[in-house]
Symmetry: C2
Subunit: 376 residues, 2 copies
């Protein structure tokens, strides 16, 4: 068996310290996955990601399907080989991106018809097609096609989407059993149900019955208040088997990550550290900082005196601000490097806190510290 | 004395192997200086430049004067400290950029009035002002203000500009003697004279009389044929003292660099490797290659199988092409890394060829190889 998930320790909060073995390496959990949408984390070399200790990247099926195409990537030996990242990769199913297209897509029980954001060409994504693409890409962890609804979706609409997601999960599982390779790829189901606790539980129960090797929680942190997100996550993790990894999709803010971990979440991904970095919003141990702000113009200090990253070791705030104001590539590059280091360091601290059974006090200190420094 | 220039060996062609000691380190000559316009080489970290063996960077006074301002850089300890580059730096005077503004500038004997390309604000650059800015920036090598003329400038116009350049050189020298620090910065004069051999000789003679520690050749490779450029360089280097470094500004194409070196040029700078890289034009030992070309779509080979750079060691042409077609930052980053490596490697080969007295045969082989491969 090429995959193995082990919970090494559980904290009083419910947080889990674990390790997930994959054919391309081990992922220590709780893990944060930087997003490499088009087979690249914007502004980072693969070597720099390795130097930061990134253990797993997320890449987007929708983007890779449109460009350069999954067939080309398969021909070139799969995504690991194509992007020269011999470490674990997770691909989403493309569903989330397609549903984000809003006016450009139409959904029915067989799948989603959508128009490419690149050239307007029409495409059809079924559960089988999503599997075919993800098998071709060859990521270690792949996701079923799911239907996402907006945060405010009412009960009936959220229920219909959750039922459809379940039906697609069955079809993905069947297709993968016939054409995929369970020793090479691990297929995760996705729990939906909007902001309705009963639907979240129903969705989780139905998918657990299908016996997936891992479970994701989708359609959250899409605009609803943080306590609702947490409530929904709690409803779901209570239903999930404790011996399978749990992946909360698309989160989150640094101060919220320990909340999700405390609810038993093992994996997360988010564009926040990378996208914010390119806009000059940088995370520090004292809260976030907008490096374009004029108060940094003559500041010779590093972004964060307590940060051990290469950027804080070498460059001043004044120089970083100059790079951002001049729209220089190096601004986004250094900002991204620092922000990814910040997230990975946060995850290391969280794992350490769990190992000591002290996540709750760590979380309290972190949230106090980050809230205090939020002066931009 | 903080500066020392030594010619170690002269090749039968006239090429010189040398070393230039500066307060921030030694430059082996002939040297190519990558361009870091706004105190950053676009798409490169300072560490990556160090790893490539870059010994000296060029930065542009015009850009730094406008943003973030030379006073700010002085306050922060000068350019080396500001950009965290503790190695040699050369700044131009801003003259070339200002003259490139065409409609936005007016020149008289006192200097140039110009409008900022950033906000349209009006500025005046005199020889004294250029010195003031360059002293504040604190580069190891600084340049006098000069007047550039277009390639087709007639005799009278080229002569007037060369005379004005000479007058400004005197004023720069006086200002620098009064306010600068010859142990910290080396002031180079600039030979002008357009495409007129007699003016080039006159300009060189007049500046040599002023006894500068180094001489640049400006206003060439601005559109005139390569053999005219070479003829003008030859006219100038014949007049220059052999114990001073010679810097040919703004060149050049890889296949032309040995021609300049054979004429006794010690230093060069050019945006070609960096700007071309961002457009997907990459240099290889077999000629240049447009990575966006569809013939690279499925090509698993590196850019250049005989290249030892980190990019060629890790990434395929297919992946690089994908990055460029997707407008991903990593495309420009990796392309720049490779192209700078190519130029620095070329300079290492040139220095080696000179040390063996074999520059002419090296040049012949190089030009044959690069010409043959020019298929894009």
């Amino acid at each position: 068996m090429s995959f193995r998930f082990e919970v090494l320790k559980t904290d009083p909060t419910g947080a889990r310290l674990g390790r997930l073995e994959t054919p391309h390496g081990v992922i220590e959990t709780p893990a944060f996955m930087p997003v490499g949408t088009a087979a690249t984390v914007k502004g980072m070399t693969q070597s720099a990601l390795e130097s930061l200790g990134v253990q797993i990247l997320l890449s987007n099926t929708y983007h890779l399907y449109l460009r350069p195409g999954h067939e080309l990537i398969r021909e070139l030996g799969g995504l690991h080989s194509f992007m020269s990242w011999p470490h674990p990769i997770l691909t989403d199913s493309g569903g989330y991106q397609v549903f984000s297209l809003a006016d450009l897509r139409k959904v029915n029980d067989d799948g989603v018809t959508f128009r490419s954001h690149l050239d307007g060409s029409e495409h059809f994504l079924s559960s089988e097609k999503a599997m075919e693409i993800e098998v071709a890409l060859g990521a270690d962890i792949i996701m079923v096609l799911d239907e996402c609804v907006e945060a405010a979706a009412d009960f009936d609409r959220a229920r219909a989407a959750a039922l459809r997601t379940k039906a697609w999960a069955v079809r993905c599982q069947d297709f993968f059993a016939a054409q995929g390779d369970a020793a090479r790829q691990m297929l995760f189901a996705i729990v939906q149900g909007g902001a309705h606790a009963v639907l979240r539980r129903e969705s989780a129960d139905a998918l657990v019955e299908l016996n997936f090797p891992g479970y994701a929680i989708g359609g959250l942190a899409v605009g609803e208040p943080h306590d609702i997100t947490c409530e929904m996550v709690a409803q779901v993790t209570a239903q999930l088997p404790s011996d399978r990894p749990r992946y909360l999709m698309g989160v989150g803010h640094p101060e919220q990550i320990p909340d999700y971990v405390a609810l038993g979440v093992d994996m997360m991904d988010c564009v926040l550290p990378t996208r914010n970095a390119r806009n000059g919003c940088l995370f520090t141990s004292q809260g976030r900082l907008n490096i374009r702000n004029s108060r940094h113009a003559r500041d010779e200090r590093p972004l964060d005196a307590s940060c051990g990253c290469a950027v804080c070791g070498r460059y001043s705030r004044a120089y970083l601000r100059h790079l951002f104001l001049s729209n220089e590539m190096l601004g986004g590059m250094l900002g991204t490097h620092h922000n990814i280091h910040f997230y990975l360091d946060l995850m290391r601290q969280i794992r350490e806190a769990i190992s000591f059974g002290k996540l709750d006090s760590f979380r309290f200190d972190l949230q106090a510290r980050l809230a205090k420094g939020h002066s931009e």
